[in-house]
Amino acid sequence: MPAAGRAPDAPGERVISTVLDPAVLTPLVVHTEAWINFDVGLLIDRFWANTINGLAYGSIYALVALGYTLVYGVLQLINFAHSEIFVIGVFGVYLTFLGLGFEPGALPNLPLAAIILDLLLAGVVAMVVAGLAAVGLERVAYRPLRRRNAPRLAFLITAIGASFAIQQVIRIVRGSNPEGTIRLLPPSPAFTVFGAPVTNLQIVIILASIAMFIVADQFVNRSRLGRGIRAVAQDPATATLMGVNRERVIMITFLVGGVLAGAAALFYLMTIPQGAVYNGGFLLGIKAFTAAVLGGIGNLRGALLGGLILGVAENYGQSLFGGDWRDVVAFVLLVLVLMFRPTGILGESLARSRA
């Protein structure tokens, strides 16, 4: 039986407050059959479907997590406003859809090639907008603090402040309610894996995310600029002695993180077309941050691994314990990893990681 946190006089139904969503101030009454399930049968039945779905969600987490991890590697700063950079990307995608003449609610009647082209265009817009927003954020919020040699706490508070500020600006411009649903490409099964259908969206998202990860990984490990990023992460003073311009490296790092968040925004809105809302970055941002810590913050490959594991684990948890437990599973997983392996699964930071 549950202990704390549940009203004892509410059998079969309970009131959950909506702290996380200021848009909805009226309490929701949710009917639930049982407080918690332990449905191993469902877990086994849905194992492959959950795995595939989890990998698709996890790819989105991973792309956003890369932004947290890159900035952490270079500045030892958790850029809490990164989730809002992601939301800016989401609105970049959404407004491009509107600009292209798509309307909420209606399914487009266009040939597949045109739809793919429109999706690509929306993705590019989101990547550019989110990338520039990230660079702008760095310049406005963090660079002045660096100039003044501000203590680390000041950066953290600024990050949280910037996060709220961007969120509220979006709310003022676009309103509190979620935007109407625009779905360009409805999911349809492309093939099956062990009897579980894989949709066209899922396979595109997983493959495209992995491709983007490989590009980012190669950039950091093989290119000259990437080597500069690693040098600043490992020893900023010595990097300067080698001729690395630290300010430029920081800018590039934010740019890459923002671009990846923009790509994630496209995949997110393809999966959850009703997801364009000003505070939509909150939960996803925390999950992506969790993914980065799970894999080992500062470690690029850790961000990918952490994202995929988190995505899959919360889907298994949803089947095993019930739908309400999805987020709980994600964060309990984080707590467990931090208890038993505080440096994350891959452990090493970008600063220490080899090649």
């Binding site: 690693r230 010595t238 300067t240």
Partner: protein
């Protein structure tokens, strides 16, 4: 002789702590100049001011006639000043080869024969580095890291090489090798500014030397003069 580096009345502070109180020194082209003194005398601060990691409060710094203070720290290596920092500053997560390559970060002639020759020279000076080429920098011993830091600095083709305590914490056979290499680098035409606590070795090598105490230069002269000076012997050479 032409002057390569000239510091005049340089003041540097860390917050309220005055680390340099008016340092003046000259490094002539082709020389080895040693900076000796006890811990906290300001030797490393002087090096950091020259490489631009620390800014000046006042005073002037000229390199080959040019005002060095007007040049951003990360561009000074491109001007011909390479520093091997105190503690070596090896990038622990990069391989030996990648670390060496970082020394050539600003060079754009990677495919040229000169670049290949420079790389070959580094591996010739320090054959141990060639054996460990693909090993992570953080796994090397102290002596190997010192070699790596020196090899890396040479890849920038410096005209002035700043060496901060190259013998610190090294086994005697490494110290001898490092000093031999410093002489060899100098003989091949690179000017060297050397900070050392190991004063006997440094003075034995140096054309000119400066003695620092609490942020000021208290003595200067040729290496041989200072080596023979009884007060220097008492204070720094452990001879009584």
């Amino acid at each position: 002789m032409t002057t390569m580096l000239e510091l005049d009345d340089v003041h540097v502070a860390y917050g309220r702590i005055q680390a340099l109180r008016g340092i003046s020194l000259r490094v002539e082209v082709g020389q080895i100049v040693a900076l000796i003194g006890a811990n906290g005398a300001g030797k490393t601060t002087t090096m950091k001011a020259i490489s631009g990691i620390l800014g000046l409060q006042s005073g002037s710094m000229r390199f080959e006639g040019e005002d060095l203070t007007a040049i951003r720290a990360d561009l000074r290596v491109g001007k011909g000043i390479s520093q091997v920092p105190e503690g070596r500053g090896i990038f622990p997560g990069m391989t030996v080869a990648e670390n060496i390559d970082m020394g050539a970060y600003l060079r754009s002639d990677r495919r040229s024969p000169e670049f290949a020759a420079d790389l070959e020279r580094v591996y010739e000076l320090f054959p141990r580095l060639a054996e460990r080429r693909s090993q992570a920098g953080g796994t090397l011993s102290g002596g190997e890291q010192q070699m790596l830091a020196m090899g890396r600095a040479l890849m920038a083709r410096p005209r002035l090489l700043l060496l901060d305590e190259p013998s610190m914490g090294l086994a005697p056979q490494f110290i001898a090798q490092i000093f031999r290499v410093i002489e060899e680098i100098n003989a091949q035409g690179t000017t060297v500014l050397l900070v050392e606590q190991n004063a006997t070795q440094a003075l034995g090598l140096a054309h000119e030397a400066y003695v620092m105490e609490t942020g000021e230069v208290t003595r200067s002269g040729t290496g041989a003069e200072l080596l023979a000076d009884p007060t220097i012997q008492d204070a720094y050479l452990g001879v009584s």
